[in-house]
Symmetry: C2
Subunit: 362 residues, 2 copies
Amino acid sequence: MDRSSSDADATRSRRATITDVAQLAGVSRSAVSRVFNAQGGISAATEERIRDAARKLHWTPSATAIALRSARSRTVGLVLNRPGVAEDGDPELPSGMFTGLEKVLARHDFGLLLHIATSVEHEEQTYRRLAEARRVDGVVLLESRVGDTRFELVRRLGLPAVLLGTPWVDDPISYIGHGPRGAGMREVAEHLLELGHRSIAAVSGPEDYVESSHRDRILREVLAAGGAGLVAHRPGPYTPVTAAERTRAILAQHPEITAIVYATDEMAIAGMATLREHGLRIPEDVSVVGYNGTDIGAWYSPALTTVRRDVSQRGRAAARALLGLMGVTVEASDEEVVDPELVIRASTAPPREAATATATAG
Amino acid sequence: MDRSSSDADATRSRRATITDVAQLAGVSRSAVSRVFNAQGGISAATEERIRDAARKLHWTPSATAIALRSARSRTVGLVLNRPGVAEDGDPELPSGMFTGLEKVLARHDFGLLLHIATSVEHEEQTYRRLAEARRVDGVVLLESRVGDTRFELVRRLGLPAVLLGTPWVDDPISYIGHGPRGAGMREVAEHLLELGHRSIAAVSGPEDYVESSHRDRILREVLAAGGAGLVAHRPGPYTPVTAAERTRAILAQHPEITAIVYATDEMAIAGMATLREHGLRIPEDVSVVGYNGTDIGAWYSPALTTVRRDVSQRGRAAARALLGLMGVTVEASDEEVVDPELVIRASTAPPREAATATATAG
DNA sequence: TTGAAAGCGGTACCAG
DNA sequence: CTGGTACCGCTTTCAA
């Protein structure tokens, strides 16, 4: 009873269309359409018949037909730019962000179309294609870059867009910025200053990433104001391998540093491994701070001091903003924008000098 | 020259349609269609004019119109089932898999529609919606479960599907299985046996996940054949917190164990933290093995012994299989299916007893 | 080699 | 309150 029947069903029985429903209910297609678009003007009895028919036929309006008719696909595009994927790297996806985005989009019956690009050109090419083929009604832009040409591009394409980050120049694009507080770096700097660190290094993200350079700037400013210095600053891609390499370079040139701030938790972990290879203990010899990332750092030993940010919340905010731009009425959100939070764990401690000084003083 | 012109362009100039192109080229719409579908039967001169016109108008066929006309959306759906997302957990996305999938799909001009469900019911509901609204031409099923009802569901929905995993029962569904070799667990078991371990525990994934139970079974079998025992076996969700909890339970009940095999690298890291809390050294007192995951384990100290699997390759294979099912001719792939590979690092070593025995014997 | 016309599955305007 | 009908943008016979 099973082997062939299901196959046959799938092949034979054409899916029901609005016409089938109308016929079964004995009404016109317009009537069916009205019922399912809550336009009113249909008698209760008729509506009942129509809904019955639809239920019986398992009918749901075709998203494609609606898309054609309304010139809206109810889909949002997201292009992840991951250079290096070509070489089979397995880049981490910003998972929290996805869940945040998807949650809000799904609630409004929007889909999320994911693409992965391997270069800036490839990325822009992808937006262009998505827009021209009208596959999406809008896009979420990730990773704000210095010199970013995407705002201009999406505008030319007539594509509503929201940037998850802060634009590098004053630009009318909608964005979910990193907030006024320096994305948590102020707290990091203050924490290190309080502990007594004066020679600090940063292994940061790509130089042309707005957020990365913003974080560096805040770090540098607050440290300077506190009488300390960012003695070394090594930008680079967000990869553990780079972090290890940068850490080695810093140790070679600035053996005096007592703390290193990494751009991600993964990089911090790779950095700690490198520090250990050099016979340095954490946090006794060098304090280490991570950022964001998974909470895997909590399990590391020593547990990693880091900055936690609610990326999922940011994703939701971006989705709401984008829906608004696309003309969808979104429920007003009472959601607070939460500031990044410094999570102090065991990888930061007073530097040896300070500890000694204190001991001597005491 | 810019402030208003671009805005106006976006608002005013309706996007070009095939009719515009036809008019500009002085031909019929059919002619344009033929040119862009490589159907031949158009003189070189005409084709040239048509292409010129299209270029001038920046015209690209509308994906929605094509979708309606052809009854295919050129989109593949992927529903991630992440219970717990509701509570703001940030589940890791299987990134490598996505890049693998996307790469192949994009090459064939297919999009990847991502959804996130928070329960099995929600997940099935999502497939149903996607199918009924004809938003996708097929779906990729993740995480094969015991008692899985999705195969039956997608069949009923007439939705081509490929399971990334092995079905729990003999089922006609297409799938990219975990291979005959026990997904690398045979190697893990042999490695531990060779080192001399005899009392081994497993902190594995959810009991109703086919792959998890398969891995457990292989582990148990190979260990038994080698005269060792899987003395403790604690399934649970793939989370570090669970891993820590399970590790504590194992230590309490089976202090004699000398090695623990974890379901993921993240879990292994949490487990190692727990072992340390109990004053145990790794690998001197307890050997630890992870699985898959990011390569963050390489930077852990001690570097984590794990099983590496090319998930991106599996993603590509799934995409090719699915495209095939949907009637797309995919280039024959010369890609070898690579077996999971045991990566021996520093977290595994001979157990103390064995080490002593050897020393005594030597 | 090319054009005309009939849809694909809906929506919305206009009558009645 | 309900039905008829002209599209949305493209593909595909069928004729010419």
